[in-house]
Symmetry: C2
Subunit: 148 residues, 2 copies
Amino acid sequence: MNQEDFKELLREKGLKVTSQRLLVLQIMAERPGEHLTTEQIYDLVRETNPEVGLATIYRTVQVLVDLHLIDKVTLDDDVARYELRNGNMKHHHHHAICLKCGRVFSFEDDLLENLEAAVEDRLGFTVVDHEVKLYGYCRDCRKEMEQD
Amino acid sequence: MNQEDFKELLREKGLKVTSQRLLVLQIMAERPGEHLTTEQIYDLVRETNPEVGLATIYRTVQVLVDLHLIDKVTLDDDVARYELRNGNMKHHHHHAICLKCGRVFSFEDDLLENLEAAVEDRLGFTVVDHEVKLYGYCRDCRKEMEQD
DNA sequence: GTTCGTGCAAAAAATTTGCACCGGA
DNA sequence: TCCGGTGCAAATTTTTTGCACGAAC
């Protein structure tokens, strides 16, 4: 999503176009693979605009979530993190979290279709979105562990 | 896990058997399908033992997580919730969350094996556990929506 | 000129910590 | 007796809210 489309979207929803909103989205857009906490976004915003308040970041991030421009993810469970949502993707992408080094690998996949079908069948539950986290050990850490 | 096994496990790990730990586990064990917040556990504990402190619940819950007797889950993202882990199950079970009524349906499944194999193959990442959340609409809410 | 958004500070909510005391090993 | 665990209160951390002012429409 480019800046003009974003302005358009805000107007459509009856929301105002403000420099704070543009700035936060820009920061997220510059870091597509990252999972930023509110605090990190705040710090990045303040690098260029030190007058912006933390409360504004909380409020702005919520607006972006409501507009489905970013997603909230809880990787290690505790701090809320946000990442840019790929516009033409209807699903979140997924995360593989290394239990040793803590690195997070993202990947796309649609192998869940059979799982969704099974749930639909068994529970009568219609799935519209899904979120998957895999826990394990990345290549590097596995290598390290094999040496021991 | 019964109470005797739990005591045994605590002793094995060099931890003390206390009435607070027994009580918290018992409360979790009596509610296998539920996802309790620390506050809810605290209230349940206080029904019979009003002298127990909230900090003890936080500490006890952490012990139980470390022993893999309960799992931390973040369903709506925000409050930490805990649920009993089925002893003979190596994986978490999964959750289908209704976007309308908020009810949470739990289910078991191992249809993720092919996904895990793909990730292992592509990223060189060894999966040891996984967590899946499906978002959608439950049977009841779907019915209601069809009527409109 | 309205209305909505922002900054600030205060408040609320969630969790952690320090410390004296208690109770299990 | 010894040491870890507990209760309490205070401290931290994270997030929300009230309000006056400023900016967008």
